[in-house]
Assembly symmetry: C2
Homo-oligomer: 507 residues x 2
């Protein structure tokens, strides 16, 4: 009896074992999927809102079917409203507008052209009509499809061209059967317009997601990630093994990974820029906001990221150069990296608040002066012959840092150009009259730093405020400070040192 | 009289001048556009064929409307065939199959679900039905839209989910009006299947464009571009100003730009890999071809491109190091760069012909031995204290080249793994029996190179052929060459030098 039970158990196990294992595997997968979904929702709640918005739009256009008077007006054409809503509901306002407008105009123009084609074909008699229509459809579909390969058309009007082919084919071909074509076309157009309008209203007025804003934030956060790396780099690179890896490196590490996403963000940026062009004025973003300048800035940021990727190859090589070389370069390299990082972080902060990015210039100047110091130090450093091999990795890091400083400078210029094109707000930190202040500075010989930011450890003196357009400093009258009017553009916010020396040379 | 004429001429000029200028501007633009189109067609004639194929498919399904018996069968539902063809006709076979299958399955499942929803709603009476349907549509549209944000669903089933929402909404909502819903659903499904089938047949059997093949070629040509750069780099970098810039640099330049496209090719590669998964077996590409390995290889190639981008920053800095440093490193750096370049070109050639990529290993080994030599040379080099600053850029270039050699090695390993996963053809260049050959080699002391390729200037000896799976060399019996069986895996194709020394140590 026992044997029978055992064998029946093992038989059952044989039968149901694989099924049970599959079920638990499926269960695990579903739990993982669910967790993934929750994470997506938590990371960006706008995605949840978007989903609800699509549901809302679709339910709204369904009214066309439910409400009898509307249905009597539109008939089965109400279907086109449903179709339109599903197809053009995109995550961003720009995406929805792009698809909606493309769909509207393409339907209108292709509808008209289709009617024309039908009239033309009708001239060839009953036998000739389908042949002529077939040829016309073939020609139009082929040329339009080929036009979709043109990069500019692909970027902006791809969907429009597709709908153009579709509508032309439907109107010219179905016209062969349906007699009341004009009524049908008008009904269809009206329902499409209703669908497009519903989507647009829902997309713009309920928790809108602007592609332009996304692009703006993406570029800013990319720059911030690079800054974060450059600030964290010296901590990780110069730490001696005794520093206790867990303490210092542990903190720096999340910062040192962020830049990797910058390397491959090009296609996202281009897509967003293309969609942003369709968006109306919103917040500080004008209708003709300089989106191209964002792409230029992003390209420069990416170039900087390439330097950082090269730098990252040496981060775990350890700082093993000869002692004298170590002592002389460690502090300067740290300064170069940190100041570049601070410049980038300052640029990111300025971009996020859409204010004048001039504070970054201070850091750029500091990193550049560190770069010059490095050259002087390297001229004077004495290295043992035997140590040249050991010196090379450290020298390479210094050399790449020099290139990074240069590319950070270019990036800063690009953001400044963006600020002037997009009319970022100017900073009104401190307006001092040079006649009164400069001599005083000279007498005292020291300046107390004006601290108005958290991470700003430099003196920022905005000497005179002037409109953002005048970028070039006007010529300085060199007859002494008391009588001279030191005209310095608000773009040129000088570090205390250089301002000081400038005043001194003039007196 | 003259004055009147003159004034009327200037008046006409005022009126028509701007119009004429606009017209000529428009003309110029159209000519430029036309030239652009011709260029696209010449660069990739498959795009012209694709356009004609779309025209053909569309004309074919229009038959559903023209041919009366077909029309009587399908009615206005023939419209769905036209719609399907326009929407799913993609450039690649994978794209068409992905969209077609997604459309088919989504229509089927959503149609069934829609019918179920309608039956459910009907239980709630005339008043309740639209409310229940509205809620169901809202819920399904919201959840499905949210699921589209899941990366894996977005990559493979995005279109399917959209069609699912669309069909569910259409069926459940329109069912509220149309009585003969089942007939309609069946008609619609049949026409969609006809549309999908037409597109698939045209796409697969008339000049097919395989996404998998495109991905394969893209990765191979990316590797080739990197190789091209590394081969051209020494020519450009080490040329002295007297070399005549026009002659040498002029030739190298086109090669030195190609790598830039590799930096930003990630999104194209991912799209192609996603589409390639949908494609049936074609040529040497199996149904479950290791597309993921292509992505891994492409990522390593991109990493190599980042190194090259860093290298490129120094290309015009000139080779200005101290004389002794110059003399000692120039030849070695040239060898490192050229051998790495040749390794990459050899990998690209192997990939293109889908043959065993082992010949590249010779070049990798050479570049690695150059790397070791460089280290030795750098240990012995004597540099004047004053020249350290001048030495740094050259040392940086050498250092980045070392990193490049390392990443080329990784890339080679990845391509080898790809070759074994995708069963590339094995090379049968020369099968020599070690018993007979090795002693002879030892007596002669020199080997005549076996030239079977154009750009191969190394001896390739495949000692024994063995299956691709056994990657690890088996232990070598060290009792002298004559009695021993030198078992060397076909993966290990040795350069003549190392083979030579191996034999010698054993004797």
């Amino acid at each position: 009896m026992e044997i029978v039970t055992e064998s029946s158990v093992s038989h059952q196990e044989k039968l149901w074992g694989p099924v049970r294992r599959r079920c638990s595997l499926f269960n695990d997968k579903m739990i993982k999927f669910g967790k993934g979904m929750v994470k997506i929702g938590k990371d960006d709640p706008r995605k949840v809102f978007h989903s609800l918005k699509v549901g809302l739009s679709l339910t709204l256009v369904s009214l066309l079917y439910y409400a009898r008077p509307l249905y009597d007006g539109f008939g089965a054409a109400g279907m086109w409203a449903v179709l339109t809503v599903v197809v053009i509901s995109e995550f961003t306002v720009g995406g929805t507008l792009c698809k909606g407008l493309n769909r509207g105009f393409a339907t209108l123009s292709a509808g008209a052209l289709g009617l024309g084609a039908q009239h033309l074909a009708a001239l060839f008699g009953d036998q000739g009509e389908p042949i002529v229509l077939g040829i016309l459809v073939f020609l139009l579909a082929s040329t339009s499809t080929f036009m979709r390969f043109f990069p500019r058309i692909k970027a902006r009007y791809d969907y429009g061209v597709m709908i153009f082919i579709l509508t032309f084919a439907l109107v010219s071909v179905s016209g062969y059967r349906v007699d009341e074509l004009l009524t049908l076309a008008q009904q269809r157009l009206t329902t499409i317009i209703i669908g497009v309008a519903t989507c647009m209203v829902v997309s713009i007025f309920i928790c809108p997601v602007w592609a332009g804003e996304d692009l703006h934030n993406l570029v800013a956060s990319n720059i911030e990630k690079l800054g974060c790396y450059l600030e964290g780099f010296p901590v990780e690179y110069f730490q001696s093994p005794e520093d206790g890896e867990n303490d210092v490196a542990g903190k720096a590490k999340p910062c040192l990974q962020g830049y990797k996403s910058v390397l491959t963000s090009k296609s996202t940026e281009e897509t967003l820029a293309n969609l942003a062009r369709w968006e109306p004025r919103h917040g500080q973003f004008k209708l003709k906001h300089p989106w191209n300048q964002y792409l230029k800035t992003a390209a420069l940021a990416r170039h900087c990221a390439y330097q950082i990727e090269a730098l990252n190859g040496y981060i775990h090589s350890g700082f093993k150069a000869p002692k004298e070389f170590q002592n002389k370069t460690k502090e300067i390299c740290t300064r170069m990296s940190e100041e570049s990082g601070m410049a980038l972080r300052s640029l990111a902060t300025s971009m996020k608040s859409m204010t004048d990015p001039s504070p970054a210039v201070v850091h750029v100047e500091s990193s550049k002066s560190a770069m010059k110091e490095l050259k002087l130090v390297l001229k004077s450093v004495s290295v043992n012959q035997a140590d040249i091999l050991a010196m090379i990795p450290a020298a390479t890091v210094a050399s790449i840092l020099v290139e990074t400083v240069k590319s950070v400078e270019k990036l800063t210029e690009s953001v400044q150009e963006l600020a002037s094109l997009a009319s970022f707000k100017s900073l009104k930190t401190a307006t001092v009259s040079p006649e009164k202040q400069a001599p005083q500075l000279l007498h005292r010989g020291s300046i107390n730093p004006v601290l108005d930011g958290v991470d700003r450890d430099h003196v920022v003196i905005t000497v005179l405020e002037c409109p953002a357009e005048t970028e070039k400093p006007q010529p300085v009258n060199g007859e002494g400070v008391k009588r001279s009017e030191v005209n310095i553009s608000c773009k040129q916010i000088l570090s205390a040192d250089s301002f000081f020396s400038q005043c001194r040379t003039r007196v």
